[in-house]
Symmetry: C2
Subunit: 212 residues, 2 copies
DNA sequence: TAGATTGTTAATCGATTAACAATC
DNA sequence: TAGATTGTTAATCGATTAACAATC
């Protein structure tokens, strides 16, 4: 695979995948970049350009075959790897993520949950038993876990991440609102909800002011 | 306020705010763009440029006063408006959001919860009673709600959003993985978790492949 | 004053949009 | 074939980075 793909392009792929899923469910077999763009509020040129950076997926004069394109995007995003996933921190957010349907739908295997609270350890959440975070390294190795979701309190986030050094883990999805530094060789994505909330607040504040 | 602020800049403001909060908690009174950048992995030029688009907040040869800058950014983001917020859909995600500490910390008032499930209506979540979504319009008006968080299943998301037309609501924070269209005059922010998860999967897949 | 650091203008870089030839 | 739509190159736009004068 080429390596000159922009982050902006990568972040649109999940949206494309989702739209193709809806189209497929409706029985649509072929979709043009025009129709595609209409559904997503993205220009057709943008979509064609994004897709073209991975190869030639469409048929000129026809459009894109929905199921085929869907499968190819899923593959590009690495969803065919069937990553094994763990959640650390089984508070309200960890609990919600343990029930998040998109995780299995996108072929991730949720195989471990961790907490440091005796009251939670041993309990089952969505059919999966909560492990003691003291056994983190052991369980990560046993279950060959590549992705860890951080759902611990802010103060514990950096220590939790540090503990992943030298394990099977290759990626971290961080929900703690702090810019934790990942160990070498581990990729981190910060899922900062305050960004969306702040952006929303900013824009609705603006629409109240003078000019608008 | 000027109106030529890029979305990229706006989305960095919550990160700046967070960093200033940590700095303040440590007792740091003044911070330079250099130190600021180091903490966030953002170039100091970027930070100065972002801030400069809202006015002159720093002192040449000195830096930025932490508390003052923090207050000004909070104001720019509209957090001084003390928005009244409701959550629609009290499943696992709605429950997690009802406990999300950043909401009160950023001066949002969570004042209503809604569900359509009789088993949940009337129960208290984090001290707040769950209302029947059938009373949506009534409660929105009574409690003067400006922001609604959508945490309902995908199939119900568009109908829920449509029901907000002509109410006090000015902004929607949508967690349903679908590109719902907002009624006229209502701002919408899509919080799509599959984007972060897809990006993470993509990057760790890449680091396994040929060249890397 | 000398040193440090901002605010701002200019240069560069990258992403989006437009245009169109290729081709189904 | 004629019409439609992709894939790709060129043009434009916008955001980031670099440089430096202003000034604390």
């Amino acid at each position: 695979m080429r390596n000159d793909i922009s982050q902006a392009t990568i972040e649109r792929l999940p949206l494309y995948l989702r739209t193709l899923g809806f189209a497929e469910a409706e029985g649509t077999e072929i979709i043009s970049s025009d129709e595609f763009g209409r559904r997503l509020n993205i220009t057709p040129e943008q979509i064609r350009k994004d897709l073209a950076s991975f190869g030639q997926f469409g048929k000129k004069g026809v459009g894109y075959y929905v199921t085929e394109l869907k499968n190819r995007i899923a593959k590009i995003l690495g969803f065919e790897n069937n990553w094994n996933v763990a959640i650390v921190g089984m508070g309200h957010l960890g609990d919600a993520l343990a029930h998040y349907k998109k995780i299995p739908e996108l072929n991730f295997n949720l195989v471990a949950l961790f907490d440091n609270d005796k009251a939670r350890i041993g309990k089952k959440v969505n059919g999966l038993e909560v492990s003691d975070v003291a056994d983190l390294k052991k369980v990560l190795a046993e279950r060959n876990i590549q992705i860890v979701i951080i759902a611990v309190p802010t103060e514990e986030a950096q220590d939790t991440v540090d503990a992943l050094e030298g394990t099977t883990v290759r990626g971290i999805w961080n929900f703690a609102p702090i810019n934790v530094k990942a160990p070498k060789g581990i990729r981190i994505v910060h899922e900062d909800l305050t960004v969306g909330l702040g952006s929303l607040s900013y824009h609705i504040s603006q629409s109240w002011n003078p000019e608008n």
